[in-house]
């Protein structure tokens, strides 16, 4: 039996996803093999339409591949029922989206502890974990603000707190800096990198932002649904 530490966070084997557009079959993800170890800070880079978001959705269990197998933290997700996939997302995957990430009617603190609440963690544990993350991410004093009362950068930091709070096997971030100015992007990226280094959180981004790509310790480049380059730094 493999040691938990040695189990890759993500293993993709011959994964494809096709879409039918009229008479044409679009190969959104085309026979992709990929392994990402725990503790990685990796990015999926490539132009729009290269298949980054589709691949993230497949890894995150939001969608099912047409071919191949996906394993998250050693668990095969291919063929799982909708309910099983939901449980997998709840316990093993954190998500950060491009924008409008937060639940508008919940405060920053409530948004950040939402997944812990779904996991039925005790209130004290939830509060302690989220408050520690707020301190780490510079969100102290903003706990009771609604998303509309936060700047774009603050909202994304709350989304990061929510994603990492349950200590998932991997955090998937789909263009997390796309709607932020360069300074805010750099700050957000720095905070995520620190969480990666200090708490061992595994991150996989999709981006075409050179600043994000610059920070990554592994850059996986995609084009037309295929991995065309895999650079480790």
């Amino acid at each position: 039996m493999m040691n938990n530490e040695t189990v890759p966070a993500i293993e993709l084997s011959d994964v494809s996803k096709f879409y039918q557009q009229g008479d044409t079959t679009v190969h959104a993800v085309d026979h992709v093999d990929l392994t990402l170890q725990r503790g990685a800070f990796a990015t999926l880079a490539g132009p729009s339409g290269s298949g980054k978001t589709t691949l993230l959705n497949l890894i995150g269990g939001l969608d099912q591949p047409d071919t191949g197998t996906i394993r998250i933290d050693g668990e095969t997700t291919t063929g799982l029922s909708d309910r099983e996939l939901t449980r997998l997302r709840l316990h093993k995957i954190g998500f950060i989206f491009q924008a409008y990430n937060l639940i508008p009617v919940l405060t920053a603190l409530e948004n950040a502890e939402f997944v812990l609440l779904l996991q039925r963690r005790p209130a004290d544990e939830r509060q302690a974990r989220v408050r520690a993350l707020f301190a780490e991410l510079g969100l102290e004093g903003l706990e009771h603000r609604l998303p509309t009362q936060l700047s774009g950068g603050q909202q994304q930091r709350v989304a990061v707190a929510r994603a990492v709070a349950p200590e998932p096997a991997i955090v998937l971030a789909d263009e997390p800096t796309a709607n932020l100015d360069s300074q805010t992007s750099a700050n957000l990226l720095e905070m995520m990198h620190r969480l990666n280094r200090e708490q061992g959180v595994t991150f996989l981004f999709s981006t075409h932002d050179p600043a994000v790509i610059e920070q990554a310790d592994r850059v996986i480049r995609m084009h037309d649904g295929r991995i065309v380059d895999d650079e480790r730094r």
């Binding site: 997302r89 989206f97 409008y100 919940l106 409530e110 609440l117």
Partner: protein
């Protein structure tokens, strides 16, 4: 949210107030429909109760006793000989009054005109206290006659008096065929004049003492109708077998008011059917309105539902969240509507709506019954509970279609939805 147990309810509550105007409209739709349904139902029920109350007082009573074939044939010879029945009935529990009546159709003429009329012979002292036709405010001239006068004295309708050019104290002649088929003619004197607004009364009815009418009929002591007035309509079922047995012992038959006055009963039934149609339309409008509002509310949150799914919320939990929102807004709307319905019912129960000016003064005729022109609501608790329950369920059920829309969208599609 230190306590996670009520998370769905709290999320639903907060979601309701995201779009205050839309929630207010939805509340107004639900509350307004509950208000209208409850109030309209209680007003209509109040009107039916008034029609029955006044109908049984001027007509058959809650229970009417007749010759077994009188209601179908209406022959003057089909009489009942009470023989102590009236006193027996008066002693029964729940009996408020017993009003025996003699009916004798004929013609009345003066030197000016001849009109078909019907004599109603009654115990005028008892009737005056009960029968709305003899209400003091309708007696526009003269007074009630005294019994046992040599010349039969009658209370006549105002229209009758006008057409025959009669005043209080004037004489006219009444011709008819008595119970033995013989022609009779008698002079009568006008003792009083009533104006009811009912043509049948104002032009075609002569009210005389029962013994005078029975003498003209040729059957002293007999009556065509014995109207038994009870303390409340619900006493009919309890009392009918007893009355029936006593009537049968004298060769007569007791009928519920619905059988004795089928026109009034069917009129109320038709009106009730119309009421139900209106309520059905309200139900449809509520369903359409609520579905429409909820569809708008969920469609603009598709991406949010996608994010919730991505975070690990199960499909059924999303459904539960939307259902909680629908239940909350429905409960709130129904509660507001019920309160307003109570208030409106209370006001119209206590003060009524005076329609006399709209109706040109006087009384209103409904299904041949003289009804006060003041609409008063009644407290139909069972109907209120039923209507409120149905509207609540309908309002919640309206969430099922938008719920289906939400649950059909996969999480990958939903998070791409802006």
């Amino acid at each position: 949210m230190r306590d996670g147990r009520w998370i769905w309810l709290r999320l639903a509550w907060r979601n309701l107030w995201r779009q205050k105007r839309r929630t207010a409209i939805q509340l107004a739709v639900v509350a307004g429909s509950v208000l209208i349904a409850l109030w309209y139902n209680n007003l209509a029920r109040g009107m039916y109760a008034a029609m029955i109350r006044d109908g049984v007082r001027s007509g058959s009573g809650h229970i009417g006793i007749y010759h077994p074939n009188y209601l179908s044939d209406r022959l003057v010879r089909q009489t009942v000989a009470p023989d102590g029945l009236i006193d027996e009935l008066r002693k029964l529990d729940h009996v408020v009054a017993v009003m025996p009546r003699v009916m004798l159709p004929g013609v009345a003429r003066s030197s000016y005109e001849l009109l078909p009329v019907a004599i109603v012979g009654a115990d005028l002292d008892t009737e005056q206290a009960i029968n709305p036709i003899l209400d003091a405010k309708r007696l526009v001239a003269g007074r009630l006659p005294s019994p046992g006068k040599r010349t039969v004295q009658a209370v006549v309708g105002a229209r009758f008096a006008e057409r025959l050019h009669l005043r209080v104290g004037s004489k006219f002649v009444f011709n008819a065929q008595n119970a033995d088929g013989e022609l009779i003619a008698t002079a009568m004197r006008v003792a009083g004049i009533v104006r009811t607004g009912l043509q049948e009364i104002d032009e075609g009815t002569l009210l005389v003492w029962r013994q005078d009418a029975a003498k003209l009929l040729g059957r002293p002591g007999h009556a065509h109708e014995i109207a038994v007035l009870l303390d409340r309509p619900n006493s009919i079922a309890e009392l009918l077998p007893e009355v029936q047995a006593r009537a049968a012992a004298r060769g007569a038959k007791a009928f519920r008011w619905e059988e004795a006055m089928p026109g009034l009963a069917s009129g109320i039934r038709m009106d009730y059917a119309f009421l139900q149609a209106i309520v059905f339309v309200i139900f449809v409008l509520v369903a359409i309105g609520t579905v429409n509002i909820l569809v708008m509310a969920v469609l603009e949150r598709i991406r949010e539902f996608g994010i919730l799914r991505a975070l690990g919320m199960e499909r059924r939990q999303i459904g539960w969240l939307v259902l909680n929102e629908a239940v909350l807004v429905s409960l709130l709307g129904v509660a507001i509507g019920a309160l307003l319905g109570f208030a409106a019912t209370w006001y119209t129960w206590k003060y009524g709506i005076d329609l006399s000016e709209m109706m040109g003064g006087g009384s209103v005729e409904m299904e041949g019954v003289l009804v006060e022109p003041i609409m008063r609501a009644t407290w139909d608790w069972a109907g209120m509970a039923r209507l409120t329950g149905v509207l609540l369920l309908l309002s919640i059920a309206a969430a099922l279609y938008p719920l289906r829309l939400v649950l059909r969208v996969g999480p990958a599609d939903a998070v791409r939805h802006y």
